[in-house]
Symmetry: C2
Subunit: 180 residues, 2 copies
DNA sequence: TTAAACTTTCAGAAATTTCTGAAAATTATA
DNA sequence: TATAATTTTCAGAAATTTCTGAAAGTTTAA
């Protein structure tokens, strides 16, 4: 199976962005071909389309599965594993954010929580203050994201579109009353 | 200048997280010592505290400045450059997000916009559809973030604390009227 | 069972990123 | 202007990450 010429620029781009998004070039390229190809693809097809080794594809698929961005699909009478995106573009984006929070925020929060526990009276006041500030910021973000993540796509879209307009709603929150 | 023992765990941790946050281990460690030290630090002090070369510090400082996370500070009668965080913890966090959006979203959006321009009627319908979906998602996110980024910290905190509670406000938006 | 069809693993090779430190460039002071 | 203080650059070295492909492992079917 040959990589359609049309997809080349996306594959190259997803490759370049890969490491910025949290994985590596090849994994980024693999995600691109899987997302932009309508039918589920098997490992050999991916290896051929991207001209990379079979072993590399196996590792990349494992990585994409650990991010929960792809899932296996089986076709009757065919023993190969076929892969397709685990959801809509919207769901994939949320999943990337969720996974990044887990990998980028969670470990730091753990460290900060444990530092706040031991509340050493010997410790420098400036340092304790900074620890508290970072901790509170990350906790707040964490709770917010959890909350947001549970919303339906439709509500989430409405919310995003409103943007800081929400600020206006909040400003008047004390001025409103319910209609009967 | 010696690295206070108290800071060691943070420096190590910020180092480990560095590459996940978008820079490398040393740059992460440098950010840690600058954020957790009350007085501005010069390059030699940083090199000594982290046991790394002077050249490496110079490159790292350039990187942190390109992220706008630190700024130079001069002391009377001293020709050295001293560095301190460019703002509060809150501002640094927003700055990291803004910079990451620029590096992770902007290039992809450019590519997608140009693809939507050429609107080739030859192109595969499934592919065009995906391009449009990703494009719209990123545009929406981009606009939202711009909007949010301009809010005052206080309003932003209120908004985060409300979380999906905003959804409830939106649900009832047709049911409210203003108090006189 | 056995064998064929697949997938995963992982040691070493290749590619990429980061680091060092001496030399070059810049800047401030006398 | 000269020189001393400081920062930046960058070639090569070191460290780290990624990739290959053959061997080992797993699964299915007869």
């Amino acid at each position: 199976m040959k990589l359609p010429a049309e997809l080349e620029s996306f594959v190259v781009h997803f490759g370049e962005m890969g490491s910025r998004w949290g994985f590596n070039r090849t994994v980024g390229q693999m995600l691109a071909v899987i997302v932009f190809t309508e039918e589920p693809l098997n490992a050999d097809q991916i290896a051929q389309m991207l001209s990379i080794s079979r072993g590399n594809v196996s590792m990349g698929l494992k990585e994409l599965q650990s991010w929960q961005l792809i899932r296996v699909h089986h076709r009757p009478g065919d023993r190969k594993d076929y892969f397709k995106p685990s959801g809509s573009i919207w769901e994939l984006a949320l999943q990337v954010l969720a996974e990044r929070r887990k990998r980028e925020v969670e470990p730091t929060l753990s460290l900060l929580r444990s530092q706040l526990m031991n509340d050493d009276p010997e410790s420098d006041l400036f340092v304790s203050q900074k620890i508290k500030e970072i901790h509170d910021l990350l906790e707040l973000f964490n709770t917010w994201f959890d909350d947001i993540h549970r919303m339906s796509p439709d509500n989430l879209i409405t919310l995003l579109k409103l943007g800081s307009g929400v600020g206006r709603v909040l400003d008047i929150k004390d001025k409103i009353s319910f209609k009967k």
